[in-house]
Amino acid sequence: MAEPGGPDPAVSELQRLVAAEQQRAQFTAQVHNFMDVCWDKCVDKPGSKLDSRTEGCLASCVERFIDTTLSITNRFAQIVQKGGH
C-alpha cells in the first residue's frame, strides 16, 4: 500500500526490476561483442574441448579489450579538451 505523500513501493519495485533487466541485457550485448572479436583471435579449429591456452586467450582478450576501450576513451577526452571542439 502506498503511504500518503511517499513513493509507491510497487512502482519502485517495478523500476528496480526494469533496471536489473536492462543491466542483464547490457551484459549480454557486451558478451556478444567480446565473442565477435575474441573467438576469431583465440580459436583455431574447434576441437572436442577448449584447451587451457584457448581459455586463457579468451579471458585475456576480454581484459585487454576493456583496457583498450578505457585507453581510447581517456585519450580521446584529452584530445577533445585540447582541441576545444
Binding site: Q26, T28, P46, L58
Partner: protein, 91 residues
C-alpha cells in the same frame, strides 16, 4: 562500451557444458547465444570451399564448433563478470 562499466546481472551466465563437462544452472544457451552469430563463426571455421553438400567432417566440425562456442561464451562471461566486480571494488 555502451553505458560504460555497468554491473553484471545474475542472468549473464549461459547454461551449457563447460569444458569440465558440468552443466550450469541458468537460462539455456539458446536464450543467449545467437544462432545467427554461431552460424557465421562456425561456417567460417568449418566449411572450406563450399561443395554440393556438407560432408561428414564438416558436419562434425559444426557440431563441435557449437559446443565450443558455448564454452567460449561461458569463459568470456566469467572473465567480464570478474572484471566488473574488480572495477566496482576499486571505486
Amino acid at each position: 562500451m555502451q553505458g560504460g562499466l555497468g554491473t553484471a546481472g545474475s542472468g549473464g551466465g549461459a547454461r551449457g557444458r563447460g569444458s569440465e563437462g558440468r552443466t550450469r544452472a541458468g537460462p539455456g544457451p539458446d536464450a543467449l547465444c545467437s544462432p545467427q552469430r554461431m552460424t557465421d563463426k562456425c561456417f567460417r571455421k568449418c566449411v572450406g570451399k563450399p561443395g554440393s553438400s556438407l560432408d561428414n567432417s564438416e558436419q562434425k566440425c559444426i557440431a563441435m564448433c557449437m559446443d565450443r562456442y558455448m564454452d567460449a561464451w561461458n569463459t568470456v562471461s566469467r572473465a567480464y563478470n570478474s572484471r566488473l566486480q574488480r572495477e566496482r571494488a576499486n571505486m
